[in-house]
């Protein structure tokens, strides 16, 4: 059994790695060659040089846009994440000009905005590594007009600057139209001589609009903008110099916020690799979520809350990379008692300022007469209330199924957890494909207005439903659409959580008072 778990999970992880390898390569080789020939660094090389050597960079949603646009927009043409620059955490938002010229697709905008949201929530300065041509015009209806489209990125830039979060742009290539506003709305701008351009309209638009013939360098070159227009503050001779300069600008942002230094951290007794044996290859075969706790917690130690009551939900406090955390995990469907236990535990962590971690592997809240008579609807609501209104940071990892109201109770994306990651073996949908096809078949059979269904029709309903659910509950479908902050390997989970918890602990004003009492349920 363990062997087959491992084999299946290893295959799943190998698949993930192949996909990440593919997207982290960037655009097609011909574009990469042309990019390099202009003396330009690739987007990930820029980030590597920008961040402090030997420190972590937490990248978000590398598989955004996966499986869409014929696979031509790897990583949605943008790399985002949090890294350390000159000793302080910053959000980095970097266009990949080898992917469709770095232009913005729907997912590019989503990813850009999500990184800004994380920056704002964690009080991080933003560094924009700009190399983009604005909206991808064929997709303009999904990029440009709506409240969470391109305009919102600028709104956020202005709002963060007003909030005291520095916005700095380093311009590596052409910034036309919308792209021009990223540097234009930045507090400080660096441009790379020769390659960087900023113009609201490029030479072709200028020609059409006012019949002026002008070349790009004259129109919006780095030297012009740095010495004539003042759109840029610093002229860098090359990309290395621009990145070095950016590091100095960040160093000059005033006293750096100290990253918290947790006391000596014991690694877990079971390392991340043990999870490959633990996690069931077959979603229907249950396993004890405490085994995941053991692989995540420092020293594999955790202290369980109400261990003998409401057993389908396991709640415990533990430390991850030295940071205290309250973990909730599922050992089956949520019943009344396990919902109340969760609500109680969440309130307690809230009172004690302990961030929460939800490990989702949940088919949903219990159904049936007994459950309804027991008041599952109001008890599950108590859990949702407590989770929704908790003032401590919340992290979610979807480790298995994330179905129906279970997704809600366990802090799904809709409840705006501070960070949400998925495992490659997870599934997310209103319900599983099995149940969905059965429900639809049942609806069809009991439809009194229609003719009784033929076997053929039922088979067609079943296969269509199964195909839809199989496709849409796939974690790659989810991550492609920014329903999470990225798919991570089980073995990476502890470190990812540690990085997030450190950012959270370093937030200004984390120690707040005015907490609520704990209601016994």
């Amino acid at each position: 059994m363990n062997l087959s778990n491992r084999e299946a999970n290893e295959a799943t992880i190998l698949d993930l790695r192949e996909r990440i390898a593919l997207v982290s390569h960037g655009g097609p080789d011909a574009h990469r060659r042309r990019h390099a020939e202009r003396g330009k660094l690739f987007v990930r090389d820029r980030i590597d040089r920008l961040v402090d050597p030997g420190t972590a960079f937490l990248e978000f949603s590398p598989l955004a846009a996966w499986g869409q646009y014929g696979g031509e927009v790897p990583a949605a043409g943008i790399v985002t994440g949090v890294g350390m620059v000159s000793g302080r955490p910053v959000a980095i938002i970097a266009n990949d000009a080898t992917v469709k010229g770095g232009s913005f697709f729907h997912e590019t905008v989503r990813k850009h905005i999500r990184a800004q949201e994380i920056a704002e929530q964690n009080g991080l300065p933003c560094l924009y590594l700009v190399d983009c041509g604005g909206a991808y015009l064929p997709e303009q209806d999904r990029v440009f007009p709506d409240r969470d489209h391109f305009g919102n990125t600028f709104h956020r830039q202005c709002a963060m600057s007003a909030k005291g979060l520095p916005q700095i742009s380093i311009v590596f290539g052409g910034c036309t139209a919308g792209g021009a506003y990223i540097p234009a709305l930045s507090d400080q701008v660096i441009m790379v001589e020769g390659n960087a351009r900023i113009h609201l309209g490029g030479p072709s638009i200028v020609k059409v609009a006012i019949n002026e013939e002008v070349d790009g360098e004259t129109l919006g070159g780095a030297a012009m903008h740095t010495s004539v227009s003042g759109v840029s503050d610093h002229l860098a001779a090359n990309e290395d110099e621009a990145l070095a300069l950016a590091r100095r600008l960040v160093a000059d942002l005033g006293p750096a916020r100290e990253m918290p230094a947790p006391e000596a951290v014991d690694p877990p007794l079971n390392d991340g690799d043990s999870l490959l044996d633990i996690v069931s290859a077959d979603p229907k075969t249950p396993y004890d979520v405490r085994d995941i706790f053991r692989a995540l917690a420092d020293g594999s130690r955790f202290s369980e809350f109400k261990p003998d009551w409401g057993k389908t939900l396991v709640a415990a406090t533990a430390r991850i990379h030295g940071f205290e955390i309250g973990i909730l995990g599922n050992n089956g469907a949520l019943l009344s008692d396990s919902s109340l236990k969760a609500a109680h535990f969440i309130q307690m962590c809230n009172q004690r300022r302990i961030p929460l971690l939800f490990l989702q592997n949940i088919t949903g809240f219990m159904v049936g007469t007994e459950a309804e008579r027991g008041g599952i609807a109001k008890d599950s609501a108590k859990m949702v209330y407590a989770m929704s209104t908790a003032r401590v940071p919340r992290l979610t990892v979807i480790v298995g199924g994330s179905y129906g109201a279970g997704n809600y109770g366990m802090c799904g994306r809709g409840f705006r957890p501070d960070f949400l990651f998925s495992w490659p073996m997870s599934r997310i949908a209103t319900m599983s494909a099995d149940i969905a096809s059965n429900v639809l078949l049942e609806l069809r059979r009991t439809n009194v207005k229609a003719q009784p269904p033929t076997g053929e029709e039922l088979a067609e309903i079943e296969s269509r439903t199964r195909a839809q659910y199989a496709e849409q509950s796939d974690p790659y479908y989810a991550t492609s659409r920014l329903w999470d902050d990225g798919i991570i390997e089980p073995g990476q989970t502890r470190d990812v959580l540690g990085l997030c918890l450190a950012l959270i602990a370093a937030r200004p004003g984390m120690a707040r008072d005015g907490h609520s009492p704990v209601y016994r349920m």
Binding site: D45, G54, T55, M259, G322, D495
Partner: protein, 668 residues
């Protein structure tokens, strides 16, 4: 002089290792030690270890360790009744010795008169000749005309040496190889002697090249007894400064050695020498004869090698003599057993003409073991400045015989760890491994012969560079608290084959480091070096490369790393992105050949003409704009090529004021 002096409290008019050495001797004798210290030495070990300490002034030696008034005042203040001058500073200053006596203090050394007589090279040579000690053929006459000196030179023969009579330490010394150069060199030597010592009197001496420097240790008491404590060989010298000393001198014929020691005793006896002293000789390259060089009337830096082979404590002996005790042994009691080397560990860069190094010692670990002694003036945390001699410590190693002592010295040197400041350890190690040194055939020219273009640090191999970059990289890891630092260059894409890749620069070459936690791949110029199980802790880098484990001491002082393994030291500068681009950061407007008017205005004055050479920043014109006078300066150095403005002219913003042609070669 034979009246026994009572000594209870000795003021040490010195610093560094010799200060500590004298404190130790005082302890052994149950005496109290008083340190004096300059501002630069306030936290030095010798100050802390003394029973009492007195500040005597600012760091420059003339204001502190050479300031006789302050030192005598310190003696009064501290109630000292004797002064030990150590070596250097006031150790051979007869006036100071006299002043001590006048102040009622016992000067631990010979009488002022002896110091004075031996301090004059001409007088010393005359005394030696009188005592029947062979002297280097030469001229020390009072007639100092160029003609008289030239005539003497003909007799002495070439090559010869012109020396300032009042000089020492190599200053005012010139080698003359042919008669044609003589007159010119005499004038030059005289000028030098006059300016350095205020006395232009010159000596002419035959120049014995590639001879050996051998010196006899003498002890005389105040009861007329003079004994020798055998000899030392101090031949390895660079710029006339001793580097390695040993006792006994290797390869001397017993007769020659006996004659030399006998001469030394005779000379000392002839002047009534009543302290420790050293008579220096030059031994001919074929070891057939020896010549008197000079007599040092003080404790020598290299006295420990004599102590190691004779088992005596020379400083203690010196103090006993000063308080009037007779020598507690006879010549027959003095035996020389085994062999000892002394290596002078100095804060200097032997690859850069022994340029002194300054900085803070961050780690200091002396070798330990049987037969190993370290006399040191520093410790971890010491700050080495530029005010005093660059010698930090002396490593003294004794062995049963010369070969054993030499091997033990090499081994001890490898274990000597000094971080934070460059030292000459690698150079010393190379010296110990010279074939002439191993064979005992070394001479005063050995170093110059072995390193005709100066000693060079070994050039770093690609692996050295990779290790240096790895060390710099690992050092960066510890800078951030919590997982953001402790996880290293963590990347979500790393398992998928896209690890972090940091970049550093060695010179202009970028070097990348692929960081996979405990394994790093360092790549430069297409060559990839894989390092596994890398770890940097407490200044020690360990890494596995191609099946071998490397353990390297990393002395990190900013971007310049000193890597040391097995006593081999390489210096590599590894710069970060910012450091590599620090000089290209344009804080001010970019310099260029054209000076533009920054705003519209009227030219009031033109300060240069076409064809003038100007420096960057030189005023070119004065412009009146917005009722303000503004001087416009040359943006770069060069020649004014074009100057299209005249006084009274009105110019627009951006108008060309001047065009400058760069100087030849300035654009390199």
């Amino acid at each position: 002089m034979s009246v026994p002096a009572s000594i209870t409290r000795i003021l040490i008019a010195n610093r560094g290792e010799i200060g500590r050495r004298i404190v130790r001797a005082c302890r052994n004798l149950g005496l109290e030690a008083v340190a004096v210290y300059s501002d630069a030495d306030r936290d030095a070990p010798f100050v802390r270890e003394a029973d009492c300490a007195v500040p005597i002034g600012p760091a420059p030696a003339v204001e502190s360790y050479l300031n006789r008034k302050r030192i005598l005042e310190a003696a009064r203040l501290s109630g000292a009744d004797a002064i030990h001058p150590g070596y250097g500073f006031l150790a051979e200053n007869a006036d100071f010795a006299e002043a001590c006596a006048e102040a009622g203090l016992t000067f631990i050394g010979p009488s002022p008169e002896i110091i004075r007589r031996m301090g004059s090279k001409i007088e010393a040579k005359r005394l030696a000749a009188e005592a029947g000690v062979p002297i280097v053929p030469g001229y020390d006459g009072a007639e100092q005309s160029v003609e008289a000196l030239a005539e003497a030179a003909e007799e002495v023969g070439f090559p010869l040496l012109l020396k300032a009579s009042a000089g020492g330490g190599g200053r005012g010394m010139r080698v003359v190889r042919t008669a044609a150069d003589l007159a010119c060199e005499i004038r030059a030597a005289r000028r030098e002697a006059e300016s350095a010592f205020g006395d232009g009197t010159l000596l002419v001496e035959r120049r014995i090249e590639n001879g050996r420097h051998v010196e006899a240790q003498i002890a005389g008491d105040r009861h007329g007894t003079v004994l020798h404590l055998f000899e030392r060989d101090c031949s390895p010298q660079r710029n006339n400064q001793k580097v390695i000393e040993e006792a006994p001198a290797p390869g001397l014929a017993p007769e020659l050695r006996a004659a030399m020691l006998d001469s030394a005793v005779k000379l000392a006896e002839s002047v009534g020498y009543d302290s420790l002293g050293t008579v220096e000789f030059l031994v001919e390259p074929d070891r057939s004869a020896f010549h008197f060089l000079e007599m040092n009337t003080r404790l020598q830096v290299e006295h420990p090698v004599t102590e190691m082979v004779t088992g005596m404590d020379l400083v203690e002996l010196q103090i006993r003599i000063a308080r009037g005790e007779p020598l507690p042994f006879t010549q027959a009691d003095v035996a020389c057993a085994g062999h000892a080397f002394e290596l002078r560990i100095a804060a200097e860069d032997p690859a850069e003409s022994y340029r002194p190094e300054t900085g803070r010692i961050v780690r200091y670990e002396e070798p330990e073991g049987e037969g190993i002694r370290v006399d040191s003036g520093v410790e971890a945390g010491s700050v080495v400045g530029h005010h005093y001699d660059s010698m930090l410590s002396k490593l003294i190693v004794r062995g049963g015989d010369r070969e054993a002592a030499l091997k033990a010295a090499v081994a001890a040197l490898k274990r000597f760890r000094i971080d934070g400041i460059g030292t000459n350890r690698a150079f010393l190690r190379d010296l110990l491994e010279l074939p002439d040194m191993i064979a005992g055939r070394h001479h005063t020219g050995s170093i110059a012969e072995a390193f005709p273009d100066g000693w060079q640090a070994p050039s770093p191999t690609p692996l050295d560079e990779a290790l240096a970059v790895a060390a710099r990289h690992l050092d960066a890891r510890g800078q951030i608290n919590g997982p953001w630092g402790s996880l290293g260059a963590w990347r979500v894409t790393a398992p998928a084959g896209r690890p972090a890749e940091a970049v550093y620069f060695i010179g202009e070459r970028p070097v990348t480091v692929e960081d996979r936690g405990c394994s790093l791949t360092v790549a430069a110029d297409g060559e990839r070096i894989a390092l596994d199980h890398v770890n940097l802790s407490d200044g020690v880098l360990t890494a596995e490369h191609e099946g071998l484990r490397h353990t390297i001491a990393v002395d990190r002082t900013g971007p310049v790393l000193l890597l040391e393994a097995d006593g081999r030291q390489v210096r590599i500068e590894v710069r970060t992105l910012e450091e590599a681009h620090a000089d290209t950061n344009r804080h001010g407007p970019a310099g260029g050949p054209i000076l533009h008017a920054p705003m519209p205005g009227q030219v009031i004055e033109v300060r240069v003409s076409e064809g003038d050479e100007v420096d960057a920043g030189a005023p070119v014109v004065v412009l009146e704009a917005m009722k303000l006078m503004q001087t416009l300066a040359a943006p770069m150095a060069g020649r004014i090529d074009s100057l299209p403005v005249k006084p009274g002219m009105t110019v627009e913003a951006g108008a060309v004021i001047a065009v400058i042609a760069p100087r030849e070669g300035t654009d390199e």
